[in-house]
Amino acid sequence: MSEPTLKLQRNAEELLREFPVTEPDFEAQATAIEARLKGSPGGVVFDDLLRVPELPAEPNEPGLPSSVRATSGPKSAPKSNFAEMARKSVQQKDDSKELAKELLAATAQSRRPNAEMVERVRAAGRTAATSTPVASSAPAATSTPLPKSSAPAVEEAQRNSGVVARTVTTVRPAAAPANNRGVIIGVIGGALALAACVALFVRASGEDERTKAALAAQKAADAPVAAPKVDAPTPAPVSNDGVVTPEALAAAQKAAPSEAAKPSSAKAGAAPVMAPAAAAVKSAPPPSAGATPEAVVLEDDPTPAQPAPVEHKAEATPEPPLKPAEGNSGSVPLNPSGGAVSTALSSVRGGAQACLAGQADPVSAVVTFASDGHVLRVSASGPSAACIQAALSKAHIAPFAKESFSATTTIRPP
């Protein structure tokens, strides 16, 4: 008996080996058997008793085909299916490591060509499985596809056999049309992507040109702000309280003859300051004393030196309306210019002088302008003060940012 790998409890092993059993009189039994044999006919065959005992397999028992068990002779019994038993034993993770080792060792010894496996391989259509495999470069596998009707049978046979036929697995070029479709789709997609890139590039280039033009326009817009500083008339002397005297205004007008030569309208007076930025960009004239507002505005002047794109852009853009030059506080100057105040007062001085008709002494009046340009109040003395106030109140200048601006003027009798 083989040495057991799993021991029972103490005394149980011994009891199992020598289990006490009450025994009959074997000699009497043997005699009875001999007596029966004398009367028994020889050559009686009981095939059912000579067959392998029909014992059902255990639930987890390593299985064997029933056909194998039904063999007639004990010697015809197969050796074992040790590998399967060992695997199951290991899978169960029981304490039968020794048994598993024994079974695996027996498997290594009993491994030999299996007729059943050969038959299954043949069923799988792998006739060349045991021969030299076909070289990978051999075109036979791809040029000779299997018949369609045989493919399911081959796959079924492969599933049953557990063997994959190399010749069959290589016969898969039927997927070529799908690959061609994929290539075509890829080419079309790439072309579309390339076209999109080109369009974006072209558009980006146009935007770049427009961006350059905008930057140039922005630079030109800054230029007239600096140019009037050169051409700007000398500011009228202003007293500490902001009162401009007519004498100072007259001196300022003399210092800026071109300014005085302009029309006496408020618009003309403010022209150098209110020159539009776009016109200044086009003209960019060198500062000269003879420059006039009309000369500044050169929108229609075809100067050859001007870059064409900018000119084209300027022509396309509608001319913005004229606006007062912006001061420090915004688009309205902080204080009215001396020329504007002098002009405004000169326009109404005639009416004030009429109030002093018949008088010998001049009258000094202080005209206070509101920020919107109209006269806020007029201070005058003498018997004709009311008349002078009414006459000077008609003066009007351009709006300015400061809350009020006062100017003193002397009205002399006519």
Partner: protein
């Protein structure tokens, strides 16, 4: 004369006895019966759990074997051939029963425990414990399936090797080993459930 013949027969092998019995030597087959009837009977007892049925099966085994001597091809040992007949007869008897009884009133194993004369019987405490263990072991063996029980009896009780048991049952040695292992595992678990500690396991490392 018979006595003198028997004195010469024990030296003859089972194969020689079978050959002689085939040639009509009834005494030769009688010797074969006496050589193996005890083992056959014990096998039948453990399978059938009944002394009377075991005796009947034992007699039938040898009578049937004698009738089928011409079918013995000589590739295996004669006793394995006889054992196979005994197993088949026992299984037929078990299947002929309407219900599977747990024990029999004339179970020779129970009686054997009661009249156990082994050395441990001198120690009353040990003897009582062994009887309890023996009864638990009997119940454990009877609870096994016919497959495991038959294999266990052949290997562990009658002392057949795995190869010999495989020849009797017509299955590979690995299957015999697995069955024996499985039967032992179940027996040990059953004994542990009944209070027989694993500390008493023989040869436990």
């Amino acid at each position: 004369m018979v006595t003198s013949a028997r004195q010469h027969l024990p030296e003859r092998t089972d194969r020689e006895l079978v050959t002689a019995a085939r040639e009509g030597d009834a005494e030769a087959f009688g010797l074969l019966v006496r050589r193996h009837q005890r083992r056959v009977y014990r096998l039948a007892v453990h399978l059938l759990k009944s002394g009377a049925e075991a005796e009947d099966v034992t007699q039938d085994t040898f009578v049937r074997a004698y009738g089928a001597l011409d079918r013995f091809d000589g590739r295996s040992e004669p006793f394995t051939w006889i054992y196979r007949i005994c197993v088949n007869l026992s299984l037929n008897a078990l299947r002929s029963r309407k219900t599977r009884r747990a024990s029999s009133p004339d179970d020779p194993r129970i009686e054997g425990l009661l009249v156990d004369n082994r050395p441990a019987a001198g120690n009353p405490a040990r003897s009582t414990a062994d009887k309890q263990l023996g009864r638990a072991l009997i119940e454990g063996i009877d609870d096994l399936s016919d497959t495991l029980r038959t294999t266990l009896i052949l290997v562990c009780i009658d002392g057949l090797s795995h190869a010999e048991a495989g020849e009797v049952l017509g299955c590979p040695e690995g299957t015999i080993a697995w069955r024996v292992h499985e039967a032992r595992k179940k027996l040990r678990g059953m004994l542990s459930e009944r209070g027989f500690d694993d500390d008493d396991i023989e040869g436990k490392e």
